[in-house]
C-alpha cells in the first residue's frame, strides 16, 4: 500500500466517523422535531433558528452533568459498557460502500473504507457484538432494573439475530457474493433485463424480515423493551449519568444510521439511482450524485424508524418472543426455500 493510499484511507475514515457522529447528533434533533410534528406540536425551537442548536446544547448538558458511579457498581466494567456500545456502533460503517470510485487527477479514491469479501458477515458480527455494551453496562450497574434491561436486550438480540441472518442468506442466494461493494454494483441503475435491479424487488419478504430485525437490533420502538421507562425506569442505563449515558443514547442513533445505510445498500441499491447511465454526466459527477442519493435513502430510513416509533406501541415481552421465534424464523426459512427454488429455476 502506498503512502497516498493510506492518507486517503485515513481521511476517508475520519470523514465517515465525523459524518456518523454528526448524523447521530442531528438524529436526536430530528427525532424530537419529527415526534413533535407527528403529535401536532412544534418541537424544540428555542436554541438557534428552528432549534437547530439544540443538539449542541444537549451535548454541552451531557458533558457538564455530574458523573455518578454507584458505590457497589463494578468500577471498570461500568465504564467499559458505554465505551463498547459506542465502539461497536461506530465500526459497523467500515465496510459500507458510500459511492463509486472518484478519480482526482491520477489517484483513484475508493469511497469505501475497506472492501473485505465477507462484508455482510462483518456487519452481522459487529451487530451481534453490540449487545455486549448493553449487557456489561447493565450488569456492572448492580441494579435490578439495569440487569433486567440487559437481560431483555441480550435475549432480544440473540432471538432476532437468527432471523436476520436467515433473511441475509436468502439475499446471498440472489447476489452470490458477500462483499457489499459487489452487491451494490449488482444493483446498478434501476431496471435491467425486464426486472428491477434493486434487491428489494427480488427479496420483498426478506427485506420485511430484515427491517423488523433491524428495529429489534437497534432497540427502537416497538422493540425498545431493554429501556422501557414504564417498567424498568431507564432499563440498562438506569444508573448512568453524564456523558456515559450520552454514549448509550448516541450509540443507539449511530446504530440506526448504520443499519439504515446497510438496508439502503443491501436492498435499495445503495448509491445507485434510476437513469444513472442515461444522464450523460461524467463518472465523477455520477459518483457524487450517487453519494447524495445514498444519503437520501439513509435519511428516508431514519425517518421511517422515527415514523414507526410514533405509530406502533411497544410489544409485550411474550409477543416479542413469539414474533421472533414463531413468525419471523419460519418466514425466513420459507423465504430461503422459495428463493432457492426460484434461483435454481431461473438459472
Amino acid at each position: 500500500m502506498e503512502l497516498t493510499d493510506i492518507i486517503v484511507k485515513v481521511i476517508l475514515i475520519v470523514i465517515v466517523f465525523a459524518i456518523s457522529l454528526v448524523i447521530a447528533m442531528y438524529s436526536t434533533y430530528a427525532e424530537r422535531k419529527i415526534a413533535a410534528f407527528f403529535q401536532d406540536r412544534v418541537g424544540p425551537n428555542r436554541a438557534g433558528p428552528f432549534g437547530m442548536l439544540q443538539p449542541l446544547a444537549d451535548g454541552a448538558k451531557m458533558f457538564l452533568k455530574e458523573e455518578i458511579i454507584p458505590t457497589r457498581a463494578s468500577g471498570l466494567l461500568f465504564i467499559v459498557g458505554p465505551s463498547l456500545a459506542i465502539l461497536t456502533a461506530c465500526i459497523g460503517s467500515a465496510v459500507i460502500p458510500w459511492g463509486q470510485k472518484l478519480t482526482i487527477g491520477s489517484t483513484i479514491i475508493d469511497l469505501q473504507v475497506t472492501d473485505i469479501n465477507v462484508g455482510i458477515l462483518y456487519i452481522f458480527g459487529v451487530v451481534s457484538l453490540g449487545v455486549y455494551g448493553i449487557m456489561i453496562g447493565g450488569w456492572a450497574s448492580n441494579n435490578k432494573y439495569s440487569l433486567l434491561g440487559a437481560i431483555r436486550a441480550a435475549s432480544q438480540n440473540i432471538s432476532y439475530e437468527i432471523s436476520m441472518g436467515l433473511s441475509i442468506i436468502a439475499l446471498l442466494l440472489v447476489t452470490g457474493s458477500l462483499s457489499l461493494r459487489e452487491i451494490a454494483e449488482q444493483q446498478h441503475g434501476f431496471w435491467h433485463d425486464g426486472w428491477f435491479t434493486w434487491n428489494f424487488f427480488k427479496q420483498p419478504l426478506g427485506f420485511l424480515i430484515f427491517i423488523v430485525c433491524a428495529f429489534a437490533e437497534t432497540n427502537r420502538t416497538p422493540f425498545d423493551l431493554p429501556e422501557c421507562e414504564t417498567e424498568l425506569v431507564g432499563g440498562y442505563h438506569t444508573e448512568y449519568s453524564s456523558m456515559k449515558l450520552g454514549f448509550y443514547l448516541f450509540a443507539e442513533y449511530i446504530n440506526m444510521f448504520v443499519s439504515s445505510a446497510v438496508m439502503a445498500t443491501l436492498y435499495f441499491g445503495g448509491y445507485n439511482f434510476p437513469f444513472m447511465d442515461s444522464l450523460g454526466l461524467s463518472a465523477n459527477w455520477i459518483t457524487i450524485i450517487g453519494v447524495i442519493v445514498l444519503f437520501a435513502k439513509i435519511f428516508a430510513f431514519i425517518f421511517f424508524f422515527m415514523w414507526i416509533r410514533w405509530t406502533i406501541p411497544r410489544f409485550r415481552y411474550d409477543q416479542l418472543m413469539n414474533l421472533g421465534w414463531k413468525t419471523l424464523i419460519p418466514l425466513a426459512i420459507a423465504n430461503i426455500v422459495i428463493t432457492g427454488i426460484v434461483v435454481t429455476l431461473l438459472n
Partner: protein, 165 residues
C-alpha cells in the same frame, strides 16, 4: 341479568383472520394516520411571542385601583385578606396625614400591601369582598421568576399607574 337501560351492547370478539393476524395492513393504516398528523398545523401557541386571547372573566394579576381623581381607593379594611382562602394577602394600615388627600381617598390607607403570588390561587374572592372596589384581578399572567421572595408583590407592582402619566 336484563339490562334496564337497554343500552348494553354485546360485543362479539371474533378470532382474527390470517390477513388481520399479519398485522401489516393495520400497521400501514396506523402509518397513514400518523402521516396525516405530520402535515397538520401544530396547535401550539408560542407563548411569550404569541398570546392566546383571554376570556372576559379571566383572573390574572391583581391591581389596586385608583378613583377618578387618581387617589388610591384601598382603605386597608382587611376584608380581602380575611376572605382570602390561601392567606396570600397581608397589609399594614396607616392614617392619612394632612396634605395627602390627593393620594388616598379614605382616611385610612394601606401603607404596605403585599400579595404572595405563590400562595394566591386566583379565586377572585378578594375582588368580591372589597367594599371599595379597590382590587381587581384584571391583569396579565403572573410572570415566572427565580427567587421565592420575588413573588411577594408589594404596592410598587400592584397599584395602578397614576392617571395622567
Amino acid at each position: 341479568m336484563e339490562s334496564l337501560s337497554n343500552k348494553k351492547k354485546v360485543l362479539e370478539v371474533k378470532p382474527l383472520n390470517i390477513w388481520e393476524r399479519a398485522y401489516l395492513p393495520a400497521i400501514f393504516k396506523g402509518l397513514a394516520i400518523t402521516m396525516k398528523h405530520f402535515f397538520k398545523k401544530p396547535v401550539t401557541i408560542k407563548y411569550p411571542e404569541q398570546k392566546r386571547e383571554f376570556s372576559e372573566n379571566f383572573r390574572g394579576m391583581h391591581s389596586l385601583k385608583r378613583d377618578e381623581n387618581g387617589r388610591e381607593r384601598c382603605t386597608a379594611c382587611g376584608l380581602c385578606a380575611l376572605s382570602c382562602p390561601a392567606e396570600a394577602i397581608t397589609m399594614t394600615a396607616a392614617e392619612r396625614q394632612k396634605g395627602e388627600e390627593n393620594l388616598y381617598r379614605e382616611e385610612k390607607y394601606a401603607a404596605v400591601y403585599e400579595i404572595n403570588m405563590l400562595r394566591c390561587i386566583f379565586c377572585g374572592l378578594c375582588e368580591e369582598a372589597c367594599p371599595k372596589e379597590a382590587i381587581y384581578l384584571d391583569g396579565d399572567i403572573v410572570p415566572a421568576d427565580y427567587l421565592r421572595k420575588d413573588f411577594i408583590y408589594g404596592k410598587d407592582k400592584l397599584v395602578e399607574a397614576p392617571l395622567n402619566q
